[in-house]
């Protein structure tokens, strides 16, 4: 005898089609909030300008390896704007839009990839974690922060992001598992940009969706068009509210496309079909929102030109601050190893001062 003991489904959200036209009349409330939408738009344009500039900085020898975020702006912007100041954000390495929304400065990310630890010493969101390079580890930090918040009965929440490839790591799953077991105020964003360097999403797992990985711990799982900022914002709101109400964690898979090389050290033409890449530009998020704004009569050519000028100035100012920072002296590599440097280190610090020279690029 057999009986069904559990049932699940995964829902997919999308409001705007590729051209920015609503798929139906059933739009979320904020879909007419022009102020919010233009803010979203302004930010996405800014972040893309930031991103392009970063690639230029790297190509011209002014920065180290960089992981561009081109094409994925709607995800981080869509949920980042929902983060309150007192919430905590734990990013993966390709997730500057959400970091910026939460108060990280443009030049901090330049410093980071420029090889300066001060790029992790955020002046804005003091509790946010810096970029995590060891993939998936950040999910457990986020769960730990959410645990602290829950134990202290605070009304805050934590968001964390990860690439779809990263969800193959055990540590991602362990975080999902404890988030479910302990009903943590935590929202997972799986940024499914279809590729993990050269490995396509389809080769990472046998699952039809990455969202369903949350079922392993009984979490609500949502799939969303990550190039439709309305949909991202909408599902994030649902999940954040749930977390804030103390009802636990959610897993959100946002579908998008990596419209760039994996990093500046990568050459995607080695493994990725150019047609697929070109075709994906059709679904990119910025023009989609612009078209929608235009259809609301909330945007025009003139404003576009003004915005372009504005963001370029903002990016240039950040670059200026990045390039003119005084290098750290060599002994800084010891200063923050422990709160107080153990005596045993005296010789090494002396040696470093004698032989170390100063920071270089």
């Amino acid at each position: 005898m057999k009986k069904k003991v559990a049932e699940f489904d995964i829902e997919y959200y999308q409001f705007l089609d590729e051209t920015g036209k609503p798929l139906s009349d059933d739009l979320p409330d904020f879909a007419t909030d022009v102020e919010l939408l233009t803010d979203m738009y302004r930010r996405m344009v800014l972040y893309r300008a930031f991103d392009k500039k970063a690639v230029v900085l790297q190509r011209t020898g002014k920065m180290g390896t960089y992981a561009p975020t081109m094409g994925q702006e709607a995800i981080g912007t869509g949920f980042g704007l929902l983060l309150e100041k007192e919430d905590v954000y734990v990013p993966y390495y390709r997730d500057y839009p959400a970091m910026f929304c939460h108060g990280v400065k443009l030049e901090e990310i330049y410093h980071y990839w420029g090889g300066d630890e001060r790029g992790c010493d955020y002046q804005g969101p003091k509790e946010d974690f810096p970029i995590s390079v060891p993939i998936a580890t950040q999910c457990l930090h986020a769960a730990g922060i959410a645990t602290a918040i829950k134990l202290r009965k605070q009304k805050r929440m934590v968001a964390v992001s990860i690439g779809e490839g990263g969800t193959s790591e055990g540590e991602f799953y362990e975080a999902v598992n404890v988030a479910g077991a302990w009903q943590l105020p935590l929202v997972f964003f799986i940024n499914n940009n279809q590729w993990a360097i050269s490995v396509p999403a389809s080769a990472q797992t046998g699952a039809e969706t990455f969202a369903q990985k949350g079922l392993a711990s009984g979490l609500p799982c949502i799939q969303v068009d990550g190039n439709d900022i309305l949909a991202v914002h909408h599902v994030s709101k649902l999940a954040f509210e749930r977390a804030r109400r103390g009802e636990g964690a959610t897993v959100i898979e946002a579908l998008t496309y990596r419209l760039c090389d994996h990093t500046t050290a990568d050459d995607a033409t080695r493994y990725r079909d150019t047609d697929e890449y070109n075709d994906s530009w059709k679904r990119e998020p910025i023009s989609r929102l612009r078209n929608y704004l235009v259809s609301l009569n909330a945007w025009n050519e003139e404003r576009e030109i003004a915005l372009e000028k504005e963001v370029n100035q903002e990016v240039e100012a950040a670059v200026e601050r990045y390039l003119t920072v005084t290098p750290e002296p060599v002994e800084k590599m010891f200063e923050h190893l422990y709160e107080t440097l153990p005596e045993a280190y005296e010789n090494q610090v002396e040696l470093a001062k004698i032989f170390g020279g100063k920071a270089h690029g």
């Binding site: 974690f129 930090h141 769960a143 730990g144 645990t147 134990l151 362990e174 923050h336 709160e339």
Partner: protein, 326 residues
């Protein structure tokens, strides 16, 4: 003031600090109702409740990762790994994050966590339950590594570890969890984390060890003392950062040094001590340094376990060899 065992001293220190500082929470597998498989957290759940004593799902990377997140929020997690052999899944979190978070954020975030684990061999446990991996953590900058060898030192060093603002690997010699009792006053007094303990003074030879072997070595030192040979016995205890000064001072006096450890020899803490001697104390040395270690093979299943660990005979033979060297 009561006579307590080493494991009871651990519990006492945990309870003391949980009472003093509400940010201290303990977490791990089976540490709640069960009080830990060695009872190190016995009674804490009853006193401090499930919000300060967290039985976790079974996953060590998770335990470490949660601790890092909680610590970044100003909590002071004291995490238990059930045995040292199960700390490997957490190495990514410990080495790539706990040890680095302060440095890589230039002090913005930090990791005031303690990672405890029963450590070492000699209790006839199943495989993977008797290792001594302290060197892996001593090799990792940004961590502290502590191994107490008596109830009093366990109490004082654990208090210090919990109060320390940086991550501490705290290994507890399980073989002597209940071997001896000692009067330990619950006075909240921490011991320094950067000082080895000179357990007996002597001019003839310096004997450095830590963990359970401190007991065999003490007995050996007493035996030699009766024969008029005075051995200076150092319990290293704060393994990393190492207090080499205490060893150097001693060897300046004795000119001879034997190092005794359970861990395999290659790239071990004993190697570090011998290396520092070769670098900094060469002219003091009147005899070759000798390491008495666990062999460079896998800790055997229980039948051969005793043959693996440094035995009293083996230690004595090395001491004699070094003493007799002219």
């Amino acid at each position: 003031m009561a006579e307590i065992t080493l494991v009871e001293a651990i519990t006492l220190a945990l309870a003391h600090e949980m009472k003093q500082d509400k940010d201290v929470v303990v977490l791990g597998e089976d540490i709640g109702a069960n009080g830990g498989v060695f009872r190190a957290t016995d009674g804490l759940l009853e006193t401090y409740g499930p919000e300060r004593v967290l039985d976790t799902p079974l996953a060590e990377a998770m335990i470490a990762g949660l601790s890092i997140g909680m610590a970044a929020q100003g909590m002071k997690p004291v995490a238990e790994f059930q045995f040292e052999g199960f700390i490997y899944p957490a190495m990514n979190q410990i080495c790539n994050h706990a040890a680095r978070i302060r440095n890589r954020t230039r002090g913005r975030l930090s990791c005031p966590a303690v990672f405890r684990a029963p450590w070492g061999g000699g209790i006839h446990a199943p495989e993977h339950h008797s290792d001594s991996p302290e060197a892996l953590f001593a090799h990792t900058p940004g961590l502290r590594v502590v191994i107490p060898s008596s109830p009093a030192r366990a109490y004082g060093l654990l208090l210090a570890s919990i109060r320390d603002p940086d991550p501490v690997i705290f290994f507890e010699p399980k073989r002597i969890y209940r071997l001896v009792k000692q009067n330990v006053e619950d006075n909240g007094e921490a011991l320094p984390l950067d000082r080895a303990f000179v357990l007996s003074e002597g001019d003839d030879l310096t004997l450095v060890t830590w963990g359970a072997l401190v007991h065999e070595c003490s007995a050996i030192v007493n035996a030699y003392h009766k024969q008029g040979v005075n051995i200076e016995l150092i319990d290293l205890a704060t393994i990393s950062p190492i207090d080499f000064d205490t060893i150097a001072e001693s060897v300046a006096k004795t000119g001879r040094c034997v190092i005794v450890q359970e861990a395999p020899q290659t790239c071990s803490v004993g190697s570090e001590i011998a290396a520092c001697l070769a670098e900094q104390c060469l002219t003091d040395l009147e005899a070759p340094v000798v390491r008495v270690s666990g062999y460079d093979t896998v800790m055997p299943f229980l039948k051969l376990e005793k043959s693996y660990l440094p035995s009293v005979d083996r230690i004595k033979a090395s001491i004699d060899e070094v003493l007799e060297y002219a």
